[in-house]
Symmetry: C2
Subunit: 419 residues, 2 copies
């Protein structure tokens, strides 16, 4: 109750800090400004702050490493650690500061980095994904500090880069030993609790044809026409894979593990038969399967075309895994951290939380797989706002999320170890 009271009295501080965060245009390569601010805020709370540009062979050669960058100069990670009094459970609070590019500016009604507030919503690139969540975590820690609440367990605050490009920031933090008994990641779950996170990875398919003049199209093989068959195989594969999903956490999703074709490109002249079409997409990975298993099943589906179609037999579709990958993650729904989070949610929100599987991957996948830190996603904001023009977040959700996080920290970090 005193947390609620303090938060009510200091709500403007939360809003101001979120606005400051959004006003930092922290697209890739431009994260320094916001990281400096977060480092200062954490220092104000007596956190021991580590700010560094990730580097080194261990990171770059790690099997979970995924980034197109050759170094992270100018893009520091920040981790703040506040040691507990002892014998309590530790927690990682993980949020990324990188935002996706603002896209076509003419689609925005306001400057994407103005942080305009209107009718209870704060607008701007990154407001939902995921500065709203970051502001909620910070505000929770500020309330605990202001109210002089002592925690037994350590609090480790990850303010990371590169989530949008494969999680190299969180991986770098893990490799420095910044792990804990559990992790909370306030990505935009629309205040749902996601104990399970779907992973995903990107594929590229090169579908071949044979060029010819369009007036004698029958002398060629149209790669666009052949791509239709490839799309059908991907649809069948999506059906097969999803028919196997029985976990009730996925019950809300019509397609729990989508295969999405996001990009298509082929040909250069309307009057020519195109000899190559490139398609790119993402395939969802369930926490019950490995990256390798998904890839093997995917390859098998694509290569099945070669059994029935002589063209594909002599011109197999090329499969490439490229760009980004987010590992899946899961925490047992009966895990003590889930119980505490759920209970505190009920107390603050006055209702039972929706508990579902996340339709997308987060750095929780790497935290689970590499950092051995069971991770839960719970945050303000809705998925469909992320990456859109005129992105916004409802301030009331940020405020409520902060209160749930503060209450969860107090209860979790004061759980006795081995008790």
């Amino acid at each position: 109750m005193k947390i609620q009271k303090w938060m009510d009295e200091h709500e403007q501080k939360l809003i101001d800090q979120l606005q400051e965060m959004v006003r930092e245009p922290s697209v890739q390569l431009n994260e320094w400004g916001i990281q400096q601010k977060i480092a200062e805020w954490l220092e104000d709370l007596d956190f021991s702050v580590d700010m560094w540009e990730p580097s080194g062979t261990e990171l770059f050669s790690h099997k979970a490493f995924m980034s197109k960058r050759e170094n992270f100069k100018g893009s520091p990670n920040v981790v703040g650690v506040k040691k507990g009094a002892g014998r309590g459970k530790s927690i990682v609070l993980n949020g990324h500061v990188d935002v996706v590019p603002e896209g076509d500016l003419t689609d925005w009604r306001e400057d994407p980095y103005a942080g305009m507030i209107k009718e209870g919503k704060l607008y701007g690139r990154g407001s939902t994904d995921m500065k709203g969540g970051n502001a909620a975590m910070l505000f929770a820690l500020q309330a605990i500090d202001a109210l002089d609440i002592q925690l037994k367990g350590d609090v480790i605050f990850h303010s990371v880069i590169e989530e949008e490009s494969g999680g190299a920031g969180t991986l770098a933090a893990i490799l420095k030993g910044y792990t804990a008994d559990a992790a909370l990641i306030p990505e935009p779950s629309n205040m749902k609790i996601f104990p399970k996170q779907q992973g995903s990875m990107w594929f590229r398919l090169n579908v071949k044809g044979k060029s010819a003049h369009g007036g004698t199209s029958y002398e060629g093989v149209n790669a666009i026409t052949k791509t239709k068959q490839v799309l059908e195989v991907l649809e069948e594969l999506e059906n097969t894979r999803n028919a196997r999903v029985t976990d009730p956490l996925f019950a809300q999703a019509p397609i729990p593990l989508p295969i999405n074709v996001g990009v298509i490109e082929g040909g250069s002249w309307p009057s020519s038969v195109p000899d190559l079409v490139k398609i790119e997409g993402r395939v969802g990975i369930s926490p019950e399967e490995t990256v390798e298993e998904v890839q093997a099943e995917f390859h098998e589906a694509i290569h099945s075309l070669e059994e029935t179609d002589p063209w594909f037999k002599s011109h197999p579709v090329e499969v490439e895994w490229f760009g980004a990958r987010w590992l899946p993650g899961a925490i047992n729904v009966d895990h003590p951290f889930m119980k505490i989070l759920t209970k505190q949610y009920e107390r603050v929100m006055g209702e039972q939380p929706p508990v579902e599987a996340a339709p997308w991957g987060t750095d929780g996948g790497i935290l689970t797989a590499v950092g051995k830190t069971p991770s839960v996603v719970f945050g303000p904001g809705v998925t469909k706002m992320a990456h859109q023009a005129n992105e916004y977040i409802k301030l009331v959700d940020v405020r409520r999320c902060a209160e749930v996080i503060a209450a969860t920290l107090v209860n979790w970090c004061n759980e006795e170890e081995n008790g």
Copy 2:
């Protein structure tokens, strides 16, 4: 026989001139050099030469005008006229000097403009399309001149720009009055006689979807998936249109009037559901139908999607006609010019000529429709060499074609008018 003898004795001149033509990299905007050469060669034959940069409202506002250019500065047309002795049939010899860009240079084994000769083939951009034909026409005129053969009818030599982009050069020549009783166009027909030329025009279709995150793909509508339906409608339309073609001139073509989808492009992020796919292609036009009729049938097919699919009903596919258009053309197979050309072919080649419909459009469409000049395509080189890397032409075909053209000129231009 004396033409054959003279050509045998002067064959090196033909080769040298073709090589000179290929060494002029006459891509769009770079036609000045070759046109200057052709003007000089025609002047050497006592042609009255008109070299001008096409311009003016009549041209630019003509309904058959098709070009992306706003002016033709630096890109002159050349027309040479040699008046006959009188009362003979006149002829247009039409060839374009523009070549398509050389494309990826790494695909070429030699400099595309070197004009290398190897094993009876001359290599280079434009060798087949259509400098081989142009060289054959010029050589035919040189033989007639050298042998002091008098023609009764006028010979009008069109050396035009812009054939590859819609025929504005030939249109400009027609508007200046350079028309005749018949026209010969030595585009690469592989020495077949094409009394009928398929026209074609370019379409662009915008297929709409609804964007969403790929992890919740079911919240969106994938424009790539919707495009599959559009491609199927185009296939059906192609079947319907071709089932109507009964002209035996098209008997050699498995698909007389192809609809070719040449370009596809959509989406920008593998993890997003794409909301727009653009496809571009060409649709063949038979000489028996008008541009407007083909467009109407095409629109009807695309809009039929709206009757069965609610998505298309609320988000109709946008149809655009853009870029290039080649009008169809035809000359009656019993036309006196056809009879003479066929007979001279038989005499020179010792066999009956294949007579077919052209699978592509040429400037013969504009010559027929606007210039009221019945046009025949007959030239050396094969379609599949055109627009390719390592384009080449067989010199023996250029030489034979020149002889057929010379013999045809002698016989056609000495036919009495009205007789």
